[in-house]
């Protein structure tokens, strides 16, 4: 594939991503994308990075999207999590949930605020945590766990290995060790 062809396909993919992620694709297109031949991995990756880079109002380079609102970006030579609205969460190796605003539903009244009678968890068995973006109050995650369960760190990418070993590209930010830093962060930031 020559460079011109590659650029064209990335652009086409970006337009497709816009339709898919904004729920503008007709269902038959969604089906074709799911069931059809998959796009070349390099084009698919370049397209999603470029798609989100064009969407946001800030300049930091997106290294990896976590979802449609949170991205691992390179900020001052360090990979951090940053939201589409501009809010900065911190080192990506610290669970981004600990930077969120949190609402916990652990009584009947709070459950009935959003669930029908009989169709919610028992408040003695389980709480429902809602994690909001402190920048724009978008709901970023829910967590259904018993009271006292540690916050779940769902996705911790080994981003340097991904770039260097799988994509075979230089890591475009300061290299960091693959490690979960959440507990360390909590220990240093919250006095008990």
């Amino acid at each position: 594939m020559n460079e011109e062809e590659k650029v064209k396909r990335v652009e086409q993919r970006i337009q497709l991503l816009e339709r898919l992620l904004q729920a503008k694709s007709p269902i038959d297109e969604v089906f074709r994308v799911i069931a059809g031949d998959k796009e070349d991995p390099e084009i698919a990756f370049d397209a999603i990075i470029e798609y989100f880079q064009r969407k946001v109002n800030w300049k930091e380079k997106i290294l990896l999207p976590i979802n449609d609102h949170l991205f691992i970006v390179c900020k001052d030579g360090k990979p951090i999590v940053k939201a589409a609205c501009g809010y900065e969460f911190g080192d990506f190796r610290v669970n981004w949930k600990v930077f969120c605003k949190i609402r916990v539903r652990r009584n009947t009244e709070d459950y009935l605020e959003i669930y029908p009678w009989w169709q919610h968890a028992h408040p003695y068995f389980m709480e429902l945590r809602e994690y909001y973006c402190p920048g724009c109050y978008k709901l970023l995650a829910t967590e259904a766990v018993p009271i006292g369960h540690p916050v779940v760190f769902e996705f911790l990418p080994d981003i340097v290995t991904f770039y260097e070993k799988w994509l075979k590209r230089p890591f475009p930010c300061g290299k960091v060790e693959f490690k979960d830093l959440t507990n360390e962060y909590i220990k240093n930031s919250i006095k008990i």
Binding site: A23, I27, I66, R103, A121, H122, L128, P146, F153
Partner: protein
């Protein structure tokens, strides 16, 4: 001299295969694929001929014999194996068994079946023990050796899910069992057929051990038919290409599959760590038949997967609940089967899938967990109870990884629970024209059509997914009614408010109302998640609203309603219940699934329902046109639409549909955002609050037990728990006594029921004709 290829014994071949894989990292040490590289087209043609054989055999066998559950719903699968028991190609159907039968063959080889009882051409072996190679006892398989000129060159296995397997209560998922002795019929890879004849002891024992002997008989014949067809057709290929080429071909097929899996992982995922937490709760403290089994459980089934640099996976089950006196104990075989069928649908759907997939995955299973404990005394009738929620973690892993790679259409927020499953049986009383005293089973199969989780680009599939069968099909209601003679359906419709909320909502599902009529001595129990959300959604999506509750009505006026041609309940939206609106009698509304049977008489009514899928993304971002569709399809009630999605809509009588008010909805969404700001707290405050609850030990018995059990089952998980909350090493949570716990739960149920009655009365309901069963009377009185 062994019966295997090259004069080796099967055990020698199996040991060599494992050793050479350990040494080289390649199946049978195949660093290259000579046949494939020389002529890939012929190679592909031969492999797909083998695949066509197993597909054809399954389809043909279903029409030779088979119970309705196999014939109409496809609860069956046929697989071709190597002499050592590694899967090569499989048919469609319940793919979870591709790997479980493999385990069964390997167990036979390790037990030296070659010497005793011997393995001969024409033999058939029957098995269903989950510890040896199965998921649960109701799935019965037949394993058949394939011989070419006195040399064993492979195996074929066919499995069929039974309507009933005996056990201490009727049905296909015996959730009342606590010990092996209550699980029903067991066969330990038993030699049942030799020299053209079935052994009479097996024939009699198997048929007498189940409640539906005719169905068992049909399915036994169907499995033998499928395996014989495969044997004949495989031997034609062997004759054509030569046995040496055949052996080379099947080994290359497995090594190629291993390589394909790793390539697919490197294409779709990101190296790193993925974690998911899933749950179930079992509430039998008041009702279990065995005294030692009277307990309420919070069951945990977390999954941690590390995608390694080389594309292999490491799956860690730390933090999983222990084994115990209940039906949901499992084993390595069910775990691997569940892993296999899920990955097949998520990562390997377009290529050759076989044992090679499994070779690229390593597991860490705590030996005291529900998966790792091999103690045969425990019941293993439904490992699905935890296996199904657990495998949602694979959907989430692919959703995270593939999204980051740009394949936003892949993965999902989860596969949800395949319940609720009403089961039971009864006898006809002769009033409906059927002869009296005929036994009828109740084993409805709507549970095979649930709502799938949503993902970044689509809503979850509605009423069309089962974790264990990619061909999810609930079958025709008429077909079931022919069998369930005294259990008559009154309605099946979309269950409102069951789909997990989100920008993309989870798949929706159905609900059903059935009445016992023309029946006597009937029992029924239902199996559903209780008191918990089994999983959460992704990226702001909410958990599915599973069927956390039970609803039954006894001694009703349904016959009078029919006679007077008055409306009767067609479903249950608890916020506007039809049961309380139309029915008089005794209503049992519980906040958990019944698990243990209730007695039903004519005119008693049962409500049951399937689960929705988890949602994806913030519900306030759901496009207004999709919200309007949801209202018009009856996926959500206007009340939930307003409270959760911020949608204000009006019903247009003239057009006969709901119309969303765009301006009012935008305002409502802003209001809901403001409520988020007002009611949320900083992480530090949250951290301190949760920590203090733990330190004060204010947890109900099942939750406290869950944490404290991990100290022994998964010390590494428990250490992480202590580290996260900065708790002392000797930290412990007091566990409530059973009597105190029951008192607390009774009090809660009683208060909840009273509030519910007030809520209904405020909406104009006349509850004077209704009595509610109280929690303290459950299991004692009606």
């Amino acid at each position: 001299m062994g019966i295997g290829y090259g004069g080796k014994t099967l055990r020698e071949l199996l040991e060599y295969s494992e050793k050479i894989y350990q040494e080289t990292g390649h199946y049978w040490g195949l660093k290259s694929l000579p046949l494939y590289e020389k002529d890939p087209l012929t190679w592909e043609r031969l492999i797909y001929r083998l695949r066509a054989i197993v597909v054809l055999a399954r389809e043909l066998a279903l029409h030779i014999a088979a119970s309705p559950i196999a014939r109409y719903i496809g609860e069956t699968c046929t697989v071709l194996y190597t002499p050592e028991g590694d899967a090569i190609v499989h048919s469609t159907g319940i793919l979870v068994h591709v790997h479980t039968m493999s385990e069964g063959i390997k167990w036979m080889i390790r037990m030296n079946y070659e010497e005793n009882p011997g393995i001969k051409d024409g033999d058939h072996f029957v098995g269903n023990d989950p510890v040896l190679g199965n998921v649960h006892t109701t799935d019965v398989h037949t394993l058949t050796p394939i011989f070419y000129k006195d040399m064993l060159i492979g195996w074929v296995g066919t499995v069929i899910h039974q309507v009933d397997i005996g056990g201490n209560s009727p049905g296909h998922d015996i959730i009342t069992a606590t010990q092996r002795f209550e699980d029903g019929f067991y066969a330990e890879e038993e030699l049942v057929y030799r020299d053209g004849k079935m052994f009479p002891h097996y024939y009699e024992r198997s048929r007498r051990s189940v409640r539906t002997p005719l169905f068992y008989d049909l399915d036994d014949k169907s499995r033998i038919a499928a395996n014989e067809i495969v044997k004949r057709e495989v031997l034609r290929i062997v004759e054509e290409i030569g046995v040496d080429n055949y052996m080379e071909l099947i080994r290359e097929a497995i090594e190629k599959s291993r390589r394909d899996f790793i390539s697919r992982v490197k294409e779709r995922l990101i190296p790193g760590r993925y974690r998911s937490v899933t749950w179930n709760a079992l509430n039998v403290i008041k009702e279990a038949w065995q005294p030692f089994a009277r307990e309420d459980y919070l069951h945990a089934a977390p999954l941690e997967i590390t995608v390694n640099e080389d594309g292999t996976l490491f799956v860690d089950l730390k933090g999983n609940s222990p084994s115990g006196w209940h039906f949901s104990n499992g084993g390595i075989s069910p775990l691997m089967g569940g892993f296999w069928v899920t990955m097949t649908q998520l990562l390997g759907y377009s290529e050759l899938i076989n044992e090679g997939f499994v070779r690229a995955v390593k597991f860490n299973v705590p030996p005291k967990s529900w998966v790792g404990d091999t103690n045969p005394i425990y019941s293993r009738s439904v490992p699905w109870w935890l296996l199904i929620p657990q495998m949602s973690g694979l959907h989430k892993m692919v959703a995270y990884g593939a999204f980051a790679r740009g394949y936003v259409e892949e993965g999902s927020a989860g596969n949800t629970g395949t319940w609720d499953a009403p089961q039971g049986g009864g006898f006809t009383d002769g009033t409906t024209g059927d002869p009296p005293n005929i036994y009828f089973p109740i084993a409805t199969f709507e549970l095979s059509s649930q709502g799938l989780g949503a993902n970044a680009v689509r809503d979850g599939l509605d009423w069309g997914h089962a974790m264990w069968n990619p061909e999810a099909d609930m079958g025709d209601v008429e077909e079931w009614e022919r069998n369930q003679r005294g259990f008559i359906y009154l309605a099946r419709r979309i269950k409102k408010n069951i789909a997990g909320y989100g920008k993309f909502r989870g798949g929706a599902s159905f609900e059903h109302i059935a009445v016992f009529y023309g029946s006597k001595d009937s029992i029924l129990y239902n199996n559903s998640s209780s008191r918990v959300f089994i999983e959460h959604g992704l990226n702001g999506g909410y958990p599915p609203l599973a069927g956390q509750y039970s609803l039954m009505a006894y001694e009703t006026n349904i016959t009078e309603l029919f006679k007077e041609k008055k409306p009767y309940p067609l479903g249950d939206d608890p916020n506007e219940p039809e049961m309380e609106k139309y029915i008089s009698g005794l209503i049992e509304r519980l906040d958990y699934s019944s698990i243990y049977p209730r007695e039903f008489k004519s005119n008693d009514i049962v409500h049951f329902k399937q689960c929705g899928g988890p949602g994806w993304g913030d519900p306030l971002d759901r496009p207004l046109d999709k919200c309007e569709d949801d209202l018009n399809m009856g996926i959500y009630s206007p009340e939930i639409m307003e409270k959760v999605f911020g949608i204000i809509a009006k019903y247009d009588e003239e057009k006969g549909r709901w119309i969303v008010d765009e301006e009012a909805s935008k305002k409502k969404r802003e209001e809901l955002r403001k409520i988020r700001m007002q009611k949320s707290i900083d992480f530090a405050q949250f951290y301190k609050e949760e920590r203090s609850i733990l330190l004060e030990g204010k947890l109900v018995r099942p939750v406290a037990k869950y944490y404290m059990e991990q100290k022994e089952v998964s010390p590494d998980w428990f250490k992480e728990f202590l580290d996260f909350w900065r708790l002392p090493e000797d930290f412990s949570i007091p566990i409530q006594g059973k009597r105190e716990y029951i008192r607390v739960m009774s009090e809660w149920h009683s208060l909840y029921l009273e509030s519910y009655k007030k809520y209904l009365e405020s909406k104009g309901y006349d509850l004077s004709k209704i009595r509610y069963l109280k929690y303290e009377d459950v299991g004692i009185l009606r």
